[in-house]
Amino acid sequence: MREITYKEAIREALREELLRDERVFLLGEDIGVYGGAFGVTLGLVEEFGEERIKDTPISEAAIIGAATGAALMGMRPVAEIMFSDFITLGMDQLVNQAAKIRYMFGGKAKVPLVVRTPLGSGTGAAAQHSQSLENWFVHVPGLKVVMPSNAYDAKGLLKSAIRDDNPVVFFEHKLLYNTKGLVPEEEYLIPLGQADIKRQGKHITIIATGIMVSRSLEAAHILSKEGVEVEVVDPRTLVPLDKETIINSVKKTGRALVVHEGCQRGGFGGEIVGLLCESEAFYYLDAPIWRVAGKNIPIPYNRRLESAAVPQVQDIVAAVRRLVA
């Protein structure tokens, strides 16, 4: 199988869906000739033209609002928000309009909209360009939230997101864009709401999202040399959530650690801990459930402080060591 980058996998998914369905179009800031701030849409305007690859004014409210309107009129827009931090400017359109319309019209209207947007720290872009705000959208009924951790998942999940009749917020991690992974040339889809066990283990389950999946796998590799077999579960979509896979894994291992980049306070980890405590997995727990997550601070500009603000491989290793001690 060939190896391509996460960014290329996303571009392939967009291209395939643009070719497959003429209702699909892209809109966002500098996504045309410039190819997007991270180069994801590079070359697409040449192939599909400005009608389907639309550069927009610098207005997130306009991007999401227009996309919502187009979706209601039967199109399948894929909007790009250059940094997920800027999604705040389109929040009303996304949360109060896109997420609500299908419910408020009793199912008569649907909003097949995808908002693609990069999140995460690690690029030295400071507090306004480095956040991981995924859990805000997990909290809003009516939105689906997808967070791929590798190239293969990114492509399969994005294609499913574009074909979904509901608004989907699709979070891409900046540091993953140039990471390579095995992606088949033939078409495939990954359904939303299906977790993936990235590594099998028997001593502890790590539930990790986004870039924390690869860091957890690295930690698992280190720990395996100490005889600790870590199972790494990647939910892949936070909404809908594949509860069964997570619960079954923890029932098997009896221990759980949740790892995510977003701030621990009010973060997705709390949701997983709650899920496990309310489930049958509770009776199999042989240690407290811990979270390794972002510090409750704005991401610092200083590189050292930036890396200290979010979980690193050693933080995960240390937490696991204490939980299995």
Binding site: G254, F282, Y283, Y284, L285, D286, A287, R322, A325
Partner: protein, 373 residues
């Protein structure tokens, strides 16, 4: 004011009692005459009735606690106080907080998995040692506990109730009294013949069974009344010697060893004595003795002959100073023989006097007719 219920004095000699079991919980209604709790005194369980009707407001003495007679054990809220109490809830609470906390049963720290397995296996987590970082019990600890238990089946009997009383008394006696045991053999042919002759007579006249123990007791009492230095009690700084014999009889019961006392036994004829012993033994085995039945002894007789025991070294029933152990009857040299072992408190008397008493007893048992003299 709520009614203050105190530890009742259930017998002349009772100075303290152990709360054995509360039949009611705090907050429950109690009616006068209804059984409220059980008290343990000198190995006897006594049911205690509620002295008044009302609501059990507070238990001041928990199960297992030893309380002196007349000391408070519970508060009972009288019917006309119920209303008033409702308004006074606040200050009442504040008061409770000031009171020093009694030792509470500590909650067990265990993981959910450990709890689940323990529950499935019917294991009390309080018995399991935790190995977790915070001392918590983990799954493995319970599994280890189960496999250890499998290796050696243990039937855990808590040291409570009569067992606890016996344990405490034996330890106190054995560790505080310098025991000396003298052993001798007595010819028993005459005694056995006499027993065989007397059995139907006693049965006819006194309409009671004459056990060999009762016959032995009869002769023992006769000798004891002539040897007050061993028919005695050592209490505090004084030795109390008695002419009157209150003879304790060691009885093996389902609950454990009990020693009912035959009071003023020296005034009884053989029939009367046999009847008294028969009655006390029966009551002991049925668990129907009252505290009075178990106190005030001046000497104790323990017969294990029926279990084919040759001889043994009995432990003195404190504060008495002597106890006679009787073994089985054996036949050799054309004679029947009986082994007598006398344990005495060397603080109260010395070897010479104790030996003289045992010799006198031996002579009477060998030739029972001497008792007439």
């Amino acid at each position: 004011m709520p009614f203050v219920m105190t530890m009742p004095k259930l017998g002349m000699t009772m100075e303290e009692g152990t709360i054995h079991k509360w039949w009611k919980n705090v907050g429950e209604e109690v009616r006068q005459g209804e059984i409220l709790l059980e008290i343990l005194t000198d190995k006897v369980n006594m049911e205690v009735e509620a002295p008044v009707s009302g609501i059990l407001k507070e238990i001041k003495a928990q199960e297992g606690e030893v309380v002196k007679v007349e000391e408070p054990i519970a508060l009972i809220l009288l019917p006309d106080e119920k209303q008033e109490e409702a308004f006074n809830l606040e200050p009442q609470k504040a008061k409770e907080e000031i009171e020093p906390q009694k030792v509470k049963e500590e909650k067990v720290k265990a993981t959910p998995a450990a709890r689940y397995i323990a529950q499935q296996a019917g294991i009390d987590l309080r018995e399991v040692q935790g190995s977790g970082p915070a001392g918590e019990i983990r799954k493995k600890d319970v599994e280890d506990f189960i496999s250890d238990r499998g290796a050696m089946e243990v039937d855990l009997v808590p040291l409570t109730g009569v067992r606890k009383v016996i344990a405490d008394k034996m330890l106190a006696s054995y560790t505080s009294i310098p025991h000396v045991t003298l052993v001798t053999e007595a010819k028993a042919s005459e005694l056995v013949n006499l027993w065989i002759k007397l059995k139907p007579i006693v049965e006819q006249i006194a309409s009671t069974k004459l056990s060999f123990t009762s016959l032995l007791a009869y002769f023992l009492i006769k000798v004891l009344s002539k040897y007050p230095y061993i028919n005695a009690r050592l209490e505090g700084d004084s030795i109390k010697r008695y002419k009157e014999v209150n003879l304790g009889i060691a009885v093996d019961t389902p609950e454990g060893l009990l020693v009912p006392v035959i009071k003023k036994a020296d005034r009884m004829g053989l029939g009367e004595l046999a009847k008294a012993i028969e009655e006390k033994v029966y009551k002991a085995r049925e668990g129907r003795l009252i505290p009075e039945d178990l106190t005030g002894g001046t000497f104790t007789l323990s017969n294990l002959g029926m279990f084919d025991i040759d001889f043994f070294t009995p432990i003195i029933n404190k504060p008495e100073v002597g106890i006679l152990g009787v073994g089985r009857i054996r036949e050799f040299s054309g004679q029947k023989w009986l082994t007598l072992s006398l344990s005495f408190d060397h603080r109260a008397l010395d070897g010479g006097p104790a030996a003289r008493f045992l010799k006198a007893l031996k002579e009477v048992l060998e030739d029972p007719i001497k008792v007439i003299i």
